[in-house]
């Protein structure tokens, strides 16, 4: 498209044809006043400040909604327009309180800015004022109708950008207001407290209650950090005052989130300042008589409603004063020197006593790339084995194993941005809007734009409401379902023959198996009507650009690897891979689970997925690290726990993981950990796992340390330290470095571990991992500036400066790169497998359906499936200590179909016992049609009713991932206490 040439105030400008007159003017330094315009939202044209005159036109026209056109002659300033603007402002002021003294938006309020510019001290129109009382009723968001200027930004953000559709205009005339349907309180509405409305409000109408009177936006320091929760990799702008996070807001320059967040990112960060934070080391010691910490597990939940103005979260409560070391069963405070010396000494002793195979380490999907790199290096170099793994084993091990076989590499093939432009989206086993909200927004936006959505899920999830076709298959019948889809595609001749021929191999063998899965037979296995299977198959196969999105519903099965390979078969069958908005996209669940895998925190590969048993690779790393290495793949998480249990593993180093809640069959985990000779846990809280440690090391939270994180779309982003450390806690990389130096000395191994900065680690990682070859610290630490007016295309800014103090001018984030990025000149890779697969030809695999390991029977008649809720994260250690999530979902629950509940005479909200062959928990019943009859669902975040007391340890034979998604359970009414 050629550029458009037109004149603004006599000045000729050349702009992109997609722009509006307002954008073009702002880009060219011509200021047109505007209140309702927001660069990330579609134009509203309601404030009438940006009106301009067009030569030949009669009435003034809103420039925010006026597309540029060749030859247009625009006048932005004259007396007439000035009067209209002044009248509009005067009218707004006639219904807006002048309470700037206590307004959160003082000094950055757009209305205030224009009132000053136009010299309007007060309104000249007396009259009725809006008198609706503020909408409160929750501790997070307050809506002041008297302050609201009805600019509509919040409505557009809620409905079009994040598609939560919780608020809209209601009533007419002067009585019009923005509210939830039927004016119900936000907490009882569809509002999910993502905070988008608050972030886009130009005045003080929508405010973050958690920040009220703690620090105005204008007086806070800013920092742009990467969200510590799911794998979306959202950029968050923090407001900081007195080393405390006052509020968070989505960073419009964030390449993954473009300014949008979910409740966890927006209202779930105050755990950083929680009194339960570990601030000193702890050692378990016989002589120690002190019990330095209140007994857990009773997660401290912020109280409501006082929290709105409560500062207690930031006050020092009962904090540790020394590092913790367990002495005779009791954890006591210790100094760092004491703790590090003990750890190095013990690991060296165990290695000497029991051999190198007796040590193992668990890295962390919440820690940075640099820290995970260092952890695996420590394990491989100093422990002398490959017993390094982390919780990716529990989420996407099957993806890593399966897609490696099919494509040669395992990661999202596309970028989050590409979801918006897909014309068919198939979501299977992913409750995207809850587990990956930002991607959920993108899917909903795509649907609203006309994309067809196919959802395969046993549960009714939010996306099923947006779907064109919902295939409600039985838990654990994914392979049969996918084979059924492929059967239809092949039998109707809808496969992409050219792609199959030129890009793949093994088609015939796969076809042979698939022929045994006609839709009618598949209907019998999956419970999905044959006609729906046909419809879905045709829709997917006939798409121009189709994206498959999947997550734990596919991977956490004993057939997890099969499931992922089946999906690979499907996308290759239709040639829906290797181009924009077309591919196979496993969504990664933690802020850096992609990175932890990338940098080698896996037992079978070095950084960059380079096999440990490949002699050339081994030689390369021996060269790089200067020590001999083991070529034997190490133990996985599940095997390490088993090893601890059966005495094979004696010493274990856990960084930022909580297997006591996250692993299946917790009782079994507990036995294993108890059986260890020496357990080191490094974390920010005294988690369920840390309580069982010999030494507890206080680490820094994401906001206090520097490090790069790789999100689910392979995007490496640097997160700077926004806060000073809490107490004596230290960054994980520094702790690892100090322990490693000490241990290397004890073992007499000569290898570099004394790192002085994060950048040294980033660059070392780049030097050994080809996919990260061009991801140098120098590149990712550059700042990117986003001009507010220019929309959403950030460019690298070589003259990096500190983030702006005032968010009304410019917005910044760090420069990010998507791997593979082999060289310093390489711009990174938006989507994978463009002309060929990583392994050359893509490989079809013939895959047969296999039932889950444990199916319901008369003793345990229900299928229990587990997963996440939007409001909590993983083992709850962070979200349950945060205001927002803890308010919305304060306690554990089990979802149960009304028919099942009726059969058992269980009422909504009643306590029930859920039992499996491995344990039982007491939990609140939530009666809902979301689960089909015979199936129950439990989120796994809650220590007091841990889903993983019940789950099955049966694992996928290849990936060793446990079958979290299916086990047999029974329900009984809980006895009244």
């Amino acid at each position: 498209m050629t550029d458009v040439r037109f004149t603004i105030d006599g000045k000729e400008v050349l702009v992109k044809p997609s722009q509006t007159v307002l954008q073009a003017a702002l880009d060219n330094g011509i200021h047109i006043p505007h209140l309702c315009y927001h660069p990330a939202l579609s134009p509203f044209a309601g404030c009438r400040l940006c009106i301009v005159e067009i030569k030949g036109g009669k009435a003034p026209i809103a420039s925010c909604a006026l597309p540029v056109k060749d030859g247009l002659e625009v006048t932005t300033r004259n007396e007439r327009l000035h009067q209209f603007r002044k009248t509009a402002l005067d009218l707004i002021l006639s219904d807006h309180p002048l309470n700037c003294l206590t307004c959160e938006k003082n000094a950055i309020c757009d209305l205030q800015k224009y009132a000053y510019e136009f010299g309007l001290e007060k309104t000249s129109y007396a009259g009725e004022r809006t008198a609706y009382p503020n909408e409160t009723g929750n501790p997070l968001i307050e809506m002041s109708y008297q302050t609201c200027i009805m600019c509509g930004r919040c409505v557009i953000a809620c409905n079009e950008a994040v598609v939560n559709e919780a608020i809209d205009f209601t009533r007419r005339g002067f009585a019009a207001k923005i509210t939830t349907p039927l004016d119900v309180p936000r907490k009882d509405s569809d509002c999910v407290f993502c905070g988008a409305c608050v972030d886009v409000c130009p005045v003080g109408a929508l405010t973050d209650l958690t920040a009220r009177f703690k620090g105005r936006i204008s007086e806070c320091q800013k920092a742009s950090v990467i969200c510590p929760y799911c794998g979306c990799g959202c950029s968050i702008l923090l407001d900081i005052k007195d080393n405390t996070i006052i509020r968070a807001k989505g960073n419009p320059a964030g390449p993954a989130n473009h300014g949008w967040l979910c409740i966890k990112g927006h209202f779930g960060l105050d755990f950083v300042h929680h009194a339960d934070r570990l601030t000193k080391c702890g050692i378990r010691n016989a002589e120690c008589g002190v019990i330095p910490h209140s007994p857990l597990p009773t997660p401290h939940l912020p109280e409501y409603p006082s929290s709105a103005l409560d500062t207690s979260l930031n006050q020092s409560r009962e904090r540790l004063h020394k590092p913790l070391i367990r002495k005779n069963g009791v954890l006591c405070e210790a100094t760092w020197e004491e703790a590090i010396a003990l750890i190095a000494g013990e690991f060296a002793r165990i290695k000497a006593d029991h051999g190198s195979g007796s040590l193992a380490a668990l890295a962390s999907a919440k820690c940075s790339n640099e820290e995970n790199y260092l952890m695996q290096k420590l394990c491989r170099v100093l422990f002398g084995n490959n017993n390094i793994d982390h919780c990716a084993r529990l989420c996407h091990a099957s993806t890593v194993a399966g897609l490696a076989k099919s494509f040669g590499s395992a990661a999202m093939t596309n970028s989050i941005d590409e979801v918006d432009n897909a014309d068919v989206i198939l979501v299977i086993g992913s409750n995207t809007t809850e587990a990956h909200p930002i991607i959920g927004y993108a899917i909903k936006r795509a649907v609203n734009k006309g994309a067809k959505l196919i959802v395969c899920d046993p549960r009714a999830i939010e996306l099923t409401e947006f779907s064109d076709i919902w295939l409600r298959h039985k838990c654990g019948s994914d392979v049969a379902l996918i084979n059924g889809l492929m059967n239809v595609i092949i039998s109707e001749g809808l496969e992409n023959k050219e792609f199959i021929k030129s890009r793949t191999e093994g088609f015939e063998a796969m076809k042979k198996v698939v022929q045994n899965y006609p839709p009618e037979k598949v209907a019998g296995i999956t419970g999905v009507p044959a006609e729906d299977i046909r419809k879905a198959a045709r829709a997917y196969a006939s798409a121009k650009d189709a994206m498959v999105i999947y997550s734990m519903g596919i991977t956490q099965h004993t057939t997890g690897t099969d499931n992922t390979m089946s999906l690979a078969n499907l996308v290759m069958l239709c040639g829906q891979i290797g181009k924009l908005s077309s591919g196979l996209n496993p969504l990664r669940g933690q802020s850096n689970v992609q990175g932890a895998c990338d940098v080698g925190a896996l037992p079978n590969v070095y950084p960059g997925y380079q096999a440990v048993n490949n002699p050339d690779i081994k030689a390369k790393f021996e060269g790089a690290w200067g020590v001999p290495l083991s070529d034997e793949p190490g133990l996985t998480v599940t095997e390490i726990i088993d090893g601890a249990s059966n005495g094979l593993i004696k010493g274990l180093y856990i960084m930022g993981e909580n297997p006591m809640l996250s692993d299946p069959n917790i009782t079994h985990v507990d036995e294993g950990l108890k059986n260890l000779e020496f357990l080191v846990v490094q974390d920010i809280f005294l988690t369920e796992t840390a309580q069982r440690a010999t030494v507890v090391l206080p680490a820094l939270s994401f906001a206090e340390k520097e490090g790069s994180y790789t999100n689910t779309e392979r995007r490496v982003q640097l997160s700077p330290p926004a806060l000073k450390p809490t107490g004596q806690s230290r960054p994980d990389w520094q702790i690892l470095s100090e322990i490693a130096v000490c241990l290397a000395k004890a073992l007499n191994i000569n290898c570099r571990f004394d790192y002085k900065s994060v950048g040294e680690l980033t660059d070392e990682l780049a030097s050994v991992s080809p996919i990260y070859g061009g991801v140098t610290y120098d590149r990712i630490s550059r700042n990117v500036t986003l001009s507010k007016a220019k929309g959403l295309t950030p460019k690298a800014d070589k003259d990096s400066s500190t983030p702006s103090q005032n968010d009304t001018s410019t917005i910044q984030t760090s420069y990010s790169l998507q791997w593979p990025c082999p060289t310093e000149e390489h711009p990174g890779t938006k989507f994978l497998h463009k002309d060929k697969f990583t392994c050359g030809l893509g490989k079809f695999h013939p895959i047969e359906h296999k039932p889950p390991a444990e199916e319901p029977d008369t003793d345990y008649p229900f299928v229990l499936t587990t997963g996440r809720t939007l409001y909590h994260y993983h083992t709850g250690s962070m979200t349950r200590r945060s205001t927002g999530p803890a308010f919305v979902v304060p306690e554990a629950y089990v979802e149960m179909n009304p028919a099942d509940a009726q059969g058992l005479a269980i009422a909504d909200g009643e306590k029930v016992n859920i039992a499996s062959r491995r344990g039982s928990v007491t939990i609140t019943a939530k009666i809902t049609e979301r689960v089909p009859q015979g199936t129950i669902f439990m989120p796994f975040h809650f220590a007091e009713a841990a889903a993983n007391m019940l789950t099955n340890t049966a694992i996928d034979p290849v990936a060793k991932i446990p079958e979290y998604k299916v086990c047999a359970a029974k329900i009984t009414k809980a006895q009244k206490i």
Partner: protein
């Protein structure tokens, strides 16, 4: 319904209908839509009963029609083939009509229209009907709107057949362009041009919408057409859809028009059954179908972009244009939205040719326009006249003038978006430009006549109140500006306005007019602007004298009896509901202002024009 598979079958079907139609048969055309409010259905039933009793069932047919136009005479019937028109009927009049008119063709004189002591039994001679030229309303009141055969018999669907049997879409657009017809919804945009734009945007999916969201107070022509002749609208849509390449259409009709909803829904069903809607219409390969969408009562949904939002299931709020709906309308596809009246005219234009249509009207405004006559005029009702006729002709010749011998003060044209024209404009020819120049708009054709006892400030207040409540709330000038304007005007009517308020009101009105987002806001100040233009003296009286000369604004006047005119007839005293009037027979009466509630009954009853509003302070002065 019989399905028609080809153009020939339609032609044959029409000929069959004509063959079997006995034009000499006695028929009673009962208005069964608008007149329902005046017991029309009981009248109809009475006819059935009497006819049955008299064993005339085979001789007399009752046709339930739509609006026949002269609503002031509701309930009305027309007797065919004589063409006798009766109004203001009661059930007891029915036997008379049967006995006289049906048996002997004699008119029942006291049921006939009368004016100036003349009685007019025949419809075509009635001054109300005589000057009218019916194109839009050609079938209204003559046919049974629920019977498509009636429509086809009167050349229905022959226009679309003509279009499909040889005209290219461009030819159709050309014909409509040449006819000069402009959108009857209010803005007067040339229909042919609108179609041409939509035709020019290439897209597999296009939509054609009929805007039946008639919301102007006093306007009811769209309702009358949908109730009385829905197939003409469907045919107009078919022609338009063919011209622009649309495959689906919507009739957006207000839910407050239940008969219009019922009859248009039925008409769509019938048209579909007859093969006139759906796939492969009349075997020509042309596909088009219609969905009826009911509006929920927001005035603003008559605005194109708000109407589109409403159909899409969103809140009816206007969007800035461009892009215009012709480029990006419903679901982002090229869309044409035409008003009911426009669409009902289209079949005639195609069938009779553009020249015949363009012959009617003025240079810039062709054809006929339907007006809804309401307010202080004798013959309230629907009239269709050629453009170019004067206001005086409509109000006095057709409308029969102002009742009660009062003086004409103004005519409010174009609904809340329009303006009030004073007597000096009575000879203005009615066309888009002249009316606009005079300070009102053609609008949808609402025409509310005001007489000397209407207060123009209060009229402005009424319309401001209406638009303020109907503002969607999106843009600042409309949401807050109209509210402040209403508050200011209200201050005039309550005597609390201050010096400078007229100028301030004027300035705000112009600002709202010029800077609002959509047509609603841009025209909302018109009633204020036009009354300030022609009746500024009334504002000044309210402001300076704290007096409402028309005797409407209750805080600004008292009634007083002029002793020179009062004859002491006691009628006022007898009729005063609060016994505020006293006086001896044959002597001048007086009003106790402490008791008087300003209801105005005495003014109505006084035959000597002796009671009039006076400023409050003046009366106090007299008292002293």
């Amino acid at each position: 319904m019989q399905k028609l598979h080809s153009l020939k079958e339609l032609q044959y079907f029409k000929e069959e209908l004509l063959r079997s139609y006995d034009g000499k048969k006695k028929r009673i055309l009962v208005c069964s839509t608008g007149c329902r409010a005046r017991n029309a259905l009981k009248i109809r039933d009475a006819f059935y009963t009497v006819i049955k009793q008299e064993h005339l069932t085979s001789e007399i047919e009752i046709i339930e029609t739509g609006c026949q136009g002269l609503c002031a005479y509701a309930p009305v019937v027309t007797i065919e083939p004589h063409g006798i028109f009766y109004g203001k009927l009661t059930e007891k009049d029915v036997p008379d009509i049967i006995a006289k008119t049906m048996k002997t063709t004699e008119a029942v004189n006291h049921l006939c229209y009368s004016e100036n002591k003349n009685t007019y039994p025949y419809l075509k001679e009635i001054p109300f009907f005589k000057p009218q030229k019916k194109i839009v309303l050609r079938n209204c009141g003559y046919i049974n709107p629920t019977n498509p055969e009636d429509y086809v018999r009167r050349n229905g669907y022959l226009a679309i057949a003509k279009a499909l049997s040889g005209m290219k879409p461009e030819d159709v657009i050309n014909e409509v362009t040449k006819s000069g017809i402009r959108g009857r919804g209010g803005a007067g945009f040339p229909t042919g041009l609108k179609w041409k734009f939509a035709n020019g945007y290439k897209n597999d999916t296009k939509y054609f919408i009929c805007n039946g969201d008639e919301g102007d107070p006093g306007a009811f022509m769209d309702r009358a057409v949908l109730e009385g002749d829905p197939h003409s609208v469907i045919e107009g849509m078919l022609i338009g859809a063919y011209a622009i390449g649309a495959t689906h259409g919507y009739i957006y009709v207000r839910a407050e028009y239940p008969i219009a909803v019922e009859y248009s829904t039925l008409a769509v069903k019938h048209a579909r059954e007859m093969g006139l809607l759906g796939e492969n219409i009349l075997g020509t390969g042309f596909n088009f179908d219609i969905t009826i969408k009911q509006g929920a009562g927001a005035f603003v949904c008559g605005e194109e972009t708000a109407l589109i939002a409403s159909i899409e299931g969103r809140r009816g709020m206007p969007k800035p244009r461009p892009p215009f709906p012709a480029e990006s309308g419903l679901w982002g596809k090229p869309t044409v939205i035409n008003n009911v009246e426009t669409l009902a005219s289209i079949p005639q234009i195609i069938l009779e040719g553009s020249a015949a249509y363009a012959q009617l009207g003025t240079q810039g405004s062709k054809g006929t326009k339907v007006f809804a006559l309401a307010g202080k005029v004798t013959n309230t009702g629907l009239v269709e006249v050629p453009m170019g006729i004067t206001l005086r002709q409509i109000i006095f010749d057709i409308g029969g003038g102002i009742p009660h011998g009062r003086a004409f003060k103004a005519v409010q044209m174009g609904g809340p978006s329009g303006g009030c024209l004073p007597a000096e404009h009575l000879d203005t020819p009615i066309d888009y430009e002249s009316i606009k120049q005079a300070g009102a708009i053609m609008g949808s054709g609402g025409m509310i006549v005001l007489d000397e006892i209407n207060c123009m400030v209060d009229i402005a207040r009424y319309f401001m109140d209406f638009v303020q409540k109907e503002s969607c709330g999106k843009c600042v000038p409309c949401r807050i500006g109209t509210k402040r304007m209403l508050e200011m005007v209200t201050r005039f009517t309550t005597g609390t306005a201050e010096t400078g308020d007229i100028e301030k009101l004027q300035a705000l009105a112009e600002s709202v007019r010029d800077s609002s987002l959509c047509g609603l806001g841009q025209t909302a100040p018109n009633p204020v602007i036009s009354t300030l233009r022609y009746f500024r003296n009334e504002y000044e009286a309210h402001l300076n004298d704290k007096f409402c000369p028309a005797g409407v604004c209750k805080e600004l006047f008292n009634y007083a009896i002029n002793p020179e005119k009062c004859t002491g007839c006691t009628v006022c005293a007898k009729n005063c509901p609060v016994k505020a009037i006293t006086g001896e027979k044959k002597k001048a009466h007086t009003i106790d202002t402490a008791k008087c509630e300003l209801c105005g009954i005495c003014v109505e009853k006084c035959k000597f024009n002796a009671i009039a509003p006076v400023p409050k302070k003046q009366l106090n002065h007299i008292k002293k």
